[in-house]
């Protein structure tokens, strides 16, 4: 090994310790790469987005200057829900929870002066994900970057929306079709792009346990595998590019066990149940975000400690990419200073602590191995249940669980149980039910998105609308409707054409709603 690593005191380290399957070896419990962070650090990918595209572009460039190695985009609620900024429901929400994107012009401003061929971009969007991907492709094209060079990830995980985050538009089955259309499109034309980030983060934030987070997420992953195979793809043609997104919560060893179990389960199921032979199909790669729900508004500086520990759990769990929350996020989107501290937290772990010198450093610990096994065992119980209610298909089991409200019921139960524990003092949350000395007012120095942002965006949108060729827009929408009506046709080409004509997100979504319908959930309290 020509890369000797030494501790702070000069003691040389081997790349790995312990017996049994090594990192990079099936079933990848110990990691998907042999050397893990010795060869390459995880991507420091800080989620950002607020205001108009120009505002967020500024934050993107600031983060890249500070050492971020990937971009990650947060969109505002109207965009996430597929509505334009001037839709009646968008009032008061434009640019508040993320960046407002209505047309390809906004996407273009968002990535101004960013080399799309040289950076990897994640876009956190689900319902209208295919439309936003289409915009990204067109913007890259405008900048002279071919689509097959584009690297990044589209969250595009609609199943978890029905279970947890509730950012759905259409009913489940046509939505899964949209997901598989994107998978098919990227498998053929964008080999460096991850078409889905199967997410557990939101499920956890909604109140699930670690086991539920793991099991529901992997089940959704299996569901997409089944759906894509049913759509005609060979499993090895797309599985290598399925990626995952987990929460890193505050119970340190439970989280590490969860990450390791995730890799082992995925490898086994893909090989044994779904017949994958390509090694890359078996390797579960994931992005991690520290748990937003664990942040407190009380004594917010304490959150820096929480985030550091959660980030460390992600690293010791072998994550490929990491976002660390900012300490002011219990109350608002992160301020620039707080976002920088969060990034610095990752940099301290990466460059000062030495944990990157050894792959899966906790492997072989009796406790950690037991925890990994136990989390896996409990997750398998959930898979068995879904298999049963799905008549032998995890995809059908997930649809059934969504329809019957089973997922929501499980999550609500766990959430309520946690709340009662905290309230009874059985579970301590520092600053909230213990150690409250030091709690003070909040609100100074928080990021504020004002009404001017909304006015600004409305003006931008109006300008695009008046400047475009309305015939081309109408024709493109007709094509989208025609393609949507035929389940065999891939929608991506018509979406690309539509966004190029400056058709808005809202217009495309409404056209699709005409074909797919609109989803109304049956609340489970």
């Amino acid at each position: 090994m020509d890369d000797p690593r030494l501790t702070l005191s000069g003691i040389p380290l081997s790349p790995v310790y312990g017996e049994g399957p090594l990192p990079g070896e099936y079933p990848y419990t110990r990691g998907v790469h042999t050397d893990m962070y010795r060869s390459r650090l995880w991507t420091m990918r800080m989620f950002a987005g607020f205001g108009t595209a120009t505002d967020t572009n500024g934050r993107f460039r600031e983060l890249l200057r500070s050492g971020s190695t990937g971009l990650s985009t947060a969109f505002d609620m109207p965009t996430l829900m597929g509505r334009d900024s001037d839709h009646p429901w968008s009032l008061g929400e434009v640019g508040r929870a993320g960046v407002a994107v209505d047309t390809v012009e906004d996407m273009s401003d968002l990535f101004a002066d960013v080399d799309l061929g040289g950076v990897s971009t994640s876009m956190t969007i689900n319902g209208p994900a295919a439309i936003l991907l289409a915009m990204y492709v067109v913007v890259a094209e405008q900048g002279g970057v071919d689509r097959d060079r584009l690297a990044g990830t589209l969250q595009n995980d609609i199943l978890k929306e029905y279970q947890a985050q509730k950012e759905y538009i259409f009913p489940p089955r046509p939505s899964v079709r949209l997901v598989t259309d994107v998978i098919r499109f990227t498998a053929a034309e964008m080999p460096r792009w991850n078409p889905v980030s199967v997410s557990g983060y939101h499920i956890r934030e909604a109140g699930s346990t670690a086991v539920q987070e793991l099991a529901f997420t992997l089940a959704n992953g299996f569901a997409y595998v089944e759906a894509s195979v049913a759509a005609g793809l060979d499993v090895d043609a797309f599985a290598p590019r399925l990626s995952f997104f987990f929460n890193s919560h505050v119970d340190f060893f439970e989280e590490i066990g969860k990450f390791r179990a995730a890799r082992r389960i995925w490898a086994r199921w893909l090989r044994d149940r779904y017949g994958a032979v390509d090694e890359r199909s078996l390797k579960l790669r994931f992005h991690t975000q520290t748990a937003g729900v664990s942040l407190t508004a009380q004594q917010p500086e304490t959150n820096i400690a929480r985030v550091a520990i959660q980030a460390l759990a992600g690293v010791l769990g072998g994550t490929q990419s990491l976002h660390t929350d900012s300490h002011d996020e219990a109350l608002a989107l992160p301020s620039e200073a707080a976002a920088r501290t969060a990034l610095r937290t990752q940099q301290v772990i990466a460059h000062e602590t030495g944990v990157t010198g050894v792959a899966d450093p906790l492997g072989g610990s009796a406790y950690v191995e037991w925890m990994t096994d136990e989390v896996e065992r409990r997750a398998e119980e959930i898979f068995a249940h879904l298999d049963e209610i799905g008549g032998g298909s995890i995809l059908e089991g997930v649809h059934e669980g969504i329809q019957s409200g089973w997922f929501m019921g499980e999550i609500a139960e766990s959430a309520y149980r946690f709340e009662r524990e905290v309230n009874a003092g059985d579970r301590i949350v520092v600053g909230v039910n213990a150690f409250t000395e030091g709690n003070g007012g909040s609100g100074a120095d928080l990021l504020r998105v004002g009404q001017e942002t909304e006015d600004d965006q409305l003006a931008r949108l109006a300008a695009v609308r008046s400047g475009r060729d309305s015939e081309a827009v109408a024709a493109s929408l007709r094509r989208v409707v025609a393609d949507a009506t035929d389940p065999e046709v891939n929608l991506m080409p018509s979406l690309i054409e539509a966004v190029r004509a400056r058709t808005t997100v809202g217009e495309i979504v409404e056209a699709l709603e005409g074909v797919f319908g609109t989803y109304v959930e049956t609340a489970v309290i």
Binding site: P78, W89, G92, E93, K166, G207, Q298, Y416, S442
Partner: protein, 137 residues
């Protein structure tokens, strides 16, 4: 108003597009466990829906959950809508609201605000007090 011992009726809803209903569901259970009758409207309610519900259900309090920084716009909006419908029903806003915004919400007529991490006791007593059932008028 005196505590007649009759259950307090609360309409719970989220205004706007945000889909985070974990808090709302937890509060629904908290209030039920405290003996209140909760008319649960859930996600993505319009002011019209909420006003109709408050009117027909003869609600004592309206609880609105907000997480997406829209409270300074949407809070006053619901207060105004209730007012215009002739319904003098107090509005309690809960969720992610920085302390610095409290004066503005109060000035707009919001009866009370519950921040993140509010305990069961705080939630219940705030709602009771807003409904005028805590012995004070």
């Amino acid at each position: 108003m005196v505590d007649t011992g009759l259950p307090i009726r609360v309409v719970l809803a989220k205004l706007g597009l945000d889909g985070h209903d974990r808090g709302l569901k937890v509060v629904a259970r908290m209030l039920r466990d405290a003996g209140m009758e909760v008319v649960y409207l859930g996600l993505r309610q319009t002011t019209d829906n909420i006003v109709a519900a408050v009117e027909q259900e003869d609600a004592d309090v309206v609880g609105i959950s907000m997480h997406n920084a829209g409270h300074l716009t949407l809070g006053p909006l619901i207060v105004k809508a209730l007012d215009e419908a002739g319904l003098a029903v107090p509005v309690v806003i809960g969720g992610i609201v920085p302390d610095a915004d409290l004066p503005e919400l109060e000035a707009a007529g919001v009866a009370a605000v519950l921040g993140p991490g509010a305990s069961v006791e705080e939630v219940v007593s705030t709602v009771r007090s807003a409904a005028g059932r805590d012995g004070s008028t």
